[in-house]
């Protein structure tokens, strides 16, 4: 192959794939994506719009009321939901919530009750050796804190949980003020759901994986039948599985994360150098600046957008966003199947 003209040049250097990826990640991914113009293939072998398959297992933890293990490629998380009881008299201050409805109708706005009383306590742990960048012994990183905040706000803003499921009601046998009147049903205590998400392994799309595991665990959660016992003067629970009830979740919001890869052109003439990559892995997250997270819910027939988070750049405009929402909608039905298939 060597001709006389080539011999004057320095010998060409060739690196194997892993070293190419480590030394210059950005050109590495760009070379992969631009190799095939029609169907861009990423470094991990997926096409640009391909999501990783989600594997969901529920009910594997002994000491949790509901639990789930979720795998998205190499990202794997364990989520445990544990319910404990908060007595009404332990709630500080006075709250003025609308009285509980006993007719079984859906309540208009109970998010404020869940929020102020802190009836859901989601937390996340990344420092489990799941990634080299989160080493235990340090305080939770900014990333971890923002992840927790995003998850909590999404749980609250989608009104996923019903306060009616979490109240423990009590109807006294007689009205203490007026024995002739019908006694009033009062809230004696609340169930508090501790939602703990432990990352076993991290390879991108942490938010998707964490929220999926929470959804799966909440769908798996069974709360025992609890009642106020006058003799015991406290809340007692029945341990019969037939009396336990599941949480009635409102809808099924499923997040999908996308990353935008901006190519650097060597000659200025070329155009169209952005790729929207769905469900990015850790390597792709490292080289992409802009990311979009779309939360959609298709449980009522049409796909409804529940939340859009976008940061880091200005590539995704109206047109892109339309496509992104469409992909998120397609993914919703796939994930929904996986969730219902898990039991």
């Amino acid at each position: 192959m060597a001709t006389a003209s080539l011999q004057q040049q320095p010998p060409s250097l060739t690196f194997p794939r892993p070293i190419f990826a480590a030394v210059s990640p950005h050109p590495f991914l760009q070379a992969h994506l631009s190799a095939n113009k029609k169907i861009p293939v990423r470094a991990n072998g997926r096409s640009a719009y391909e999501f990783r398959r989600s594997g969901i297992n529920t009910g594997s933890l002994t000491h949790a009321n509901g639990s789930a293990v979720v795998r998205l490629g190499n990202t794997s998380v364990v989520c445990g939901v544990r319910a404990e009881i908060l007595m009404e008299e332990d709630v500080p201050g006075t709250n003025d919530f609308p009285p509980p409805r006993t007719d079984g109708e859906d309540e208009e706005d109970d998010t404020q009750e869940i929020d102020t009383l802190r009836l859901i306590v989601p937390n996340i742990e990344l420092s489990t050796g799941s990634t080299p960048s989160h080493i235990p012994g340090n305080a939770p990183s900014t990333f971890q804190q923002s992840l927790i905040t995003r998850i909590r706000s999404l749980l609250l803003s989608t009104r996923l949980l019903r306060a009616a499921d979490l109240r423990i009601l009590y109807k006294p046998s007689s009205n203490p003020e007026d024995p002739d009147e019908e006694p009033e049903t009062i809230v004696k205590a609340y169930w508090v759901l501790y939602i703990d998400v432990f990352f076993i392994s991290i390879d991108g799309s942490e938010f998707d994986a964490a929220f999926l595991s929470i959804l799966a665990a909440l769908r798996d959660t069974r709360l025992p039948y609890a009642y106020f016992d006058e003799e015991y003067e406290g809340i007692l629970c029945s341990d019969a599985p037939s009396e336990a009830k599941r949480l009635r979740l409102r809808g099924l919001p499923i997040p999908s994360t996308f990353a935008v890869f901006e190519g650097k052109s060597e000659d200025a003439g070329e155009q169209d150098f952005e790729w929207v990559l769905s469900d990015p892995d850790a390597f792709e997250e490292g080289v992409c600046r802009e990311s979009v997270c779309v939360v959609v819910d298709g449980s009522r027939g049409d796909v409804v957008v529940r939340r859009i988070e976008k940061s880091g750049g200005g590539v995704v405009g109206r047109e892109h966003l339309r496509g992104v929402v469409g992909m998120a909608g397609k993914r919703w039905s796939e994930v929904e199947k996986a969730l219902s298939g898990s039991g």
Partner: protein, 325 residues
């Protein structure tokens, strides 16, 4: 209640675990749930072990020891838990420039229980038990790793306990047995940690003098013969299955060198310390068989994968992306 401003906190009023009505109303019902040992005295529980579960770590492993008692479907009260541990090894990597010179590998071990690991919910900040376990684990590993081969480097061993063995049967807690010492479950957890970390370290390719494994033996009072004085030595005890454990011992054992790098003994073992230690080493040899099998399988799979990859890359060479320059 102290608040952690970096996490979501529980309601300020505090919460309590649910109390089940039948456990306080019907004493007989409680006793009917008590698990009992169905294995022989020298029979170990089955071990499930898998390596390379975390691709971004240099070595990792997952260990599960399923509970031997049958799953209960008639009650919501959680049954005896099984042991589930993940271990991740990050490194060896160079120490930061600010760190003083170290002629050998700096080993850091962190053990953390998940909040849902035990019957009582645990917090996120490491408590003394977890620190203690970390120190024990570090001692066990320090004697195995050939640290001189990595000067100026450090390795992080992170162990997460997703589910831990219990200290005793939950029905007994508070009423009896508290005086005879507790923390029997911790010995099992430590032995499991040692075994799983050993597999993870081998997976990471860190040179060791031998494969270290953990084992537990205990002396328990058996009550079924009517005479409460009868004591028996048993291997791999599940504390919930025994009414009264007198003494227990966990070791980290190097089978081919016949060495013990860590020993943790609790309780009143009387004159019989040697027998107890020996029992623990027998138990460790049992888990060694599993570890060896798993490591061999992982190695075979790795070489098989490499062979196929090299064959595949010959064909794929044309389409592959190479960096030239």
């Amino acid at each position: 209640m102290n608040t952690d401003r970096r996490r979501n906190n529980a309601p300020a009023g505090g919460t309590t675990a649910p109390v089940f009505a039948r456990t306080i109303r019907e004493p007989g019902y409680l006793q009917s749930l008590r698990p009992s040992r169905s294995r022989g005295l020298n029979e170990l529980r089955r071990i499930f072990l898998q390596t390379s579960i975390i691709p971004s770590a240099s070595g990792s492993a997952y260990l599960e020891i399923p509970s031997s008692s049958a799953p209960v479907t008639l009650t919501l009260i959680p049954p005896t838990s099984s042991l589930k541990i993940t271990a991740s090894v990050q490194g060896p990597k160079p120490l930061p420039r600010s760190a003083p010179f170290s002629p050998s590998l700096l080993l850091t071990t962190t053990v953390k229980f998940a909040p849902f690991a035990t019957r009582n919910r645990r917090g996120y900040i490491r408590d003394t038990t977890e620190r203690d376990l970390g120190v024990h684990l570090e001692t066990a590993l320090r004697g195995v790793i050939i640290g001189e081969r990595w000067p100026k480097s450090g390795v992080e061993v992170v162990v997460t306990i997703l589910e831990g063995d219990e200290d005793g049967w939950w029905g007994d807690s508070g009423s009896e047995g508290s005086a005879s010492g507790s923390g029997w479950g911790l010995l099992n957890v430590l032995a499991g940690c040692i075994t799983v970390v050993s597999a993870a370290i081998t997976d990471a390719g860190i040179d060791c003098v031998d494969v270290v494994t953990g084992g537990v033996a205990a002396i328990a009072r058996t009550s079924d013969s009517g005479n409460s004085k009868v004591v028996a030595r048993l291997l791999d005890p599940c504390p919930a299955e025994h009414k009264e454990i007198v003494a227990a011992c966990a070791v980290a054992y190097l089978a081919s060198r016949d060495e013990i790098t860590e020993i943790w003994m609790k309780g009143d073992c009387g004159q019989d310390t040697d027998a107890l230690t020996e029992g623990a080493t027998h138990s460790a040899v049992g888990s060694l068989a599993v570890v060896k099998e798993v490591l061999l399988e992982a190695l075979q799979a790795k070489f098989q994968g490499q062979l196929e990859a090299s064959e595949g890359s010959l064909k794929r060479k044309v389409g592959d992306v190479d960096m030239t320059g």
